[in-house]
Subunit: 497 residues, 2 copies
């Protein structure tokens, strides 16, 4: 190991530790901070971000990276670490300061105006600002694509999904897009005569919290290394040794907070399971957004909506709310958690219709970034796509292209990771069940250890040692295959197949 | 204004903003963080501290300070700001890195061992470690006294009480020490036949919290810029725009948490009232620990134990706990909150006996730092002093020289600020009442605005513009005078004078 590499480890540790500090402050901002603290907190966050950026972009850092690369002599993990350092460095140095600042100004004013335009359903009002954001984002994409030797869109995708490529995603999404409309029709047809009972509240927040914590505990969340709190937009933040989850409660409906908590717990267990000996090194960090999302969806969608889980969970739910009756049966919860219903809003979508929302956004954002489409064309393209895939057309852009913050806030290239995550989850869960056949029997008894051990060993502890693609092959024996997700949907949603 | 000065403002702002971030993380550590987060938080705190220190001690910083000084052309506040910058810089650069590290190592291991030695009452066990801490602290004092041109002890005092001097404190404490024994005897004699009723609990935490918040609100604490939470050791932290108070509750006794909350609220109102236009500049920061403590004690001791306050507060206390009867009268609360009783433990001491605890520590720590006494002599000297001033001798060092963390943790020179703060509080409150004669009438009606406006205008908004001594003269018309505190004690604790 060269001296240059050793110095890089020190420098990156410092940068990542400051990132940890920022993550706790971010959590505090969303869950604890009084409103009047916003301005001083913004100063703190900006100062930390600037510091980290300037520590990353010193000439010395570039020299050390080159020297470490030239000297070599690294073991497998160190080598992967150096590769991740270089990747981070490339992204940080690709944009000159004036572009970074212009993007920050444009997204912040666009996002602010979006908060007005959305409730009004007024796309025209926001369109010029979105154009400006898109224009600057394309400049950033061009600068990054130059360094990464890839397309404009893939340069943006790479920020969230390292080594992600449109040419891989395209065929996968095409397959899903071809499958979904007919499948959806069949499911809707079958579910037409279904009825389920909505459990009647109110469900006091204290009891909902107790229920969430009981299930978090059951799946292996360690409250000595994390907390559960409340925020407007639920998230999983903090650091691997101090994971901060949030949720929000609705006293009339416990089901969504409960699944939300399990979703964030999936993220949390991934973070907790990252390799301890590589803490605060790039290779010890989570692999990318698809894999992160796969861990939350594996828990929320694959596990917690399975018959095995509902068999374990139903008596606990009844007990904590002290309710019984037909609405409180495994059968009813199963029907309730498997209802499929095309809707306009992505974040409210069920497992079957969700991919349609993502594919729509992916195709539009890719066309916009690649210069094959203009901002003005978004509403019509959006509505056409919704009609084609889900058979519904939003009455207003409020329920259409204005619903998500991502584009207005500059997060282009993020959307595909949601559905890649869902497919990855299905494939990983399938591999885990094949490796340890009694996983579901154990889950039905409340024993999540066999599943969690498998995930820890095969996914979490890998950190960023392998690319997502290589990790999939190592853990599941094959590259990401949409057929596994499709089979999962068929098994769960089609009767008598 | 020179360019050098403008650059200094930028650099100091950055350092102080990072200090704000650290303050929020510190609060989180004490009130929210799960235990398992300790190691990663320690990394974050150390990284932030190192960064701030290295930003402060660059050669460029020294050059800019010299240049700004030479160029001049500053207004009054800028000039004071530059003076505070220089003071901070002097403290930061006085010690070489190896000494800083040695002190950090020695205090951290001494403090750890102290946690064992204290419950055992085993001073012998800790003495060699304390010797090491003292030895290193004296080296630090020597380095700083060289730069500050003052005695060893004053160099340490200056860290907490800028421009504080033993030659000023000595006569003041001598006067108090001469006064206290006889006065205490008289008060004890008079209180001999007093009886008061202890309000009977339990007092649910939710109600105690409600009560604390009601009084915080009444005195002007703005919950849009702060919070009240729980921690093992209550404190006031956070930033001026996001003040984080903590307390701890005892379900059998609401009185101590209530006064604790008001104490921390006094600190908080000072922080909130610091000059907005000088946020994150040294001159916009709190003046020193005596003045900070004066603001907490002004609220807790001068105001909240006054007849005026108890007249306002008693009905609220009765109402919130839903209790009535003789224990819940103004008369009984007055007797209860004015009980004087010599005891061994400083933090449990009443207003009359508290100064004895501080004077004892001040004299011992000064002698130890100046090399006039050895660590081995502490227990005997401690006990002799307790007997002479309060007429009691601790049975074990657990209740004697092992009770406080300060010396074991390296905080030498801090103790005098407690009693300087109490005297400062008495003098400031007296001045406020003379300037606005109906302050107490208004307080008895629950209107704290006249007092708070006076404090804001005369104390809080001054930041670090003047020295503590000059601020006292400006705000109260004279230097700190122990007679005002003595008169306050006589008025409150002697009957029929």
């Amino acid at each position: 190991m060269s001296q240059a590499y050793a110095q890089l480890e020190k420098k990156f540790k410092r940068i990542l530790v400051l990132g940890d500090a920022a993550a706790i402050l971010q959590w505090d901002m969303a869950s604890m901070m009084p409103k009047g603290g916003a301005a001083s907190r913004a100063e703190q966050m900006a100062t930390l971000a600037t510091l980290r950026h300037s520590m990353m972009t010193t000439p010395e850092m570039a020299d050390l990276l080159n020297e470490a690369q030239a000297k070599g002599g690294l073991n497998d993990w160190q080598d992967a670490n150096l590769h991740e350092m270089q990747r981070t460095h490339t992204h940080a140095t690709a944009l000159d300061e004036s572009l970074v600042e212009a993007i920050s100004r444009a997204t912040s004013s666009c996002e602010q105006l979006w908060r007005e335009a959305r409730p009004e359903g007024n796309f025209k009002k926001i369109a010029p600002h979105l154009k400006e954001v898109l224009n600057l984002t394309r400049q950033a994409a061009a600068a990054k694509s130059d360094k990464l030797k890839c397309s404009l869109y893939d340069a943006l995708l790479d920020q969230y999904e390292p080594d992600g490529k449109s040419e891989k995603i395209g065929p996968i999404f095409d397959r899903l897009e071809a499958f979904l409309p007919d499948f959806l029709q069949t499911v809707l047809e079958q579910q037409k005569d279904h009825t389920f009972l909505k459990p009647e509240g109110p469900f006091p927040i204290e009891q909902q919290k107790q229920l969430g914590k009981r299930f978090m505990d059951a799946v292996g969340f360690d409250f000595n290394h994390g907390r559960l709190d409340v925020s407007l937009h639920p998230f999983c933040g903090g650091t691997p040794d101090d994971v901060r989850l949030t949720t929000r409660y609705d006293e009339n409906d416990f089901t969504s907070a409960l699944m939300g908590v399990m979703h964030e717990t999936g993220h949390a267990l991934y973070e907790r399971g990252l390799p301890l000996q590589w803490r605060n090194q790039p290779v010890g960090s989570a692999r990318g957004m698809s894999l992160h999302e796969s861990q939350s969806l594996l828990l929320e969608m694959q596990v917690c909506r399975s018959s095995a889980f509902l068999e374990f969970a139903t008596p606990h739910i009844s007990e904590i709310f002290d309710k019984t009756g037909p609405a409180w049966s495994i059968k009813n919860f199963t029907a309730l958690y498997r209802e499929v219903k095309p809707g306009f809003i992505r974040v409210d979508a069920d497992e079957v219709t969700y991919p349609a929302h993502v594919i729509l956004r992916y195709k539009l954002e890719r066309a916009l970034i690649q210069g094959e489409m203009e901002v003005e064309d978004i509403p019509a393209a959006w509505n056409e796509s919704m009609q084609r895939m889900l058979g519904i057309t939003p009455a207003s852009d409020r329920e259409g292209c204005l619903q998500d913050i991502h584009w207005y806030d500059g997060a282009w290239g993020y959307f595909p990771t949601y559905t890649l995550g869902a497919m990855t989850a299905a494939q990983i869960y399938e591999a885990a069940k094949q490796a340890t056949p009694d996983i579901e029997t154990q889950i039905s008894k409340g024993n999540f250890a066999p599943l969690m051990l498998w995930l820890q060993e095969n996914i979490h502890s890998a950190g960023s040692h392998l690319s997502s693609a290589d990790l999939m092959i190592k853990a599941t024996g094959q590259p990401l295959d949409p057929e596994i997700f499709i089979t999962h949907l068929k098994n769960r949603y089609l009767e008598n197949i």
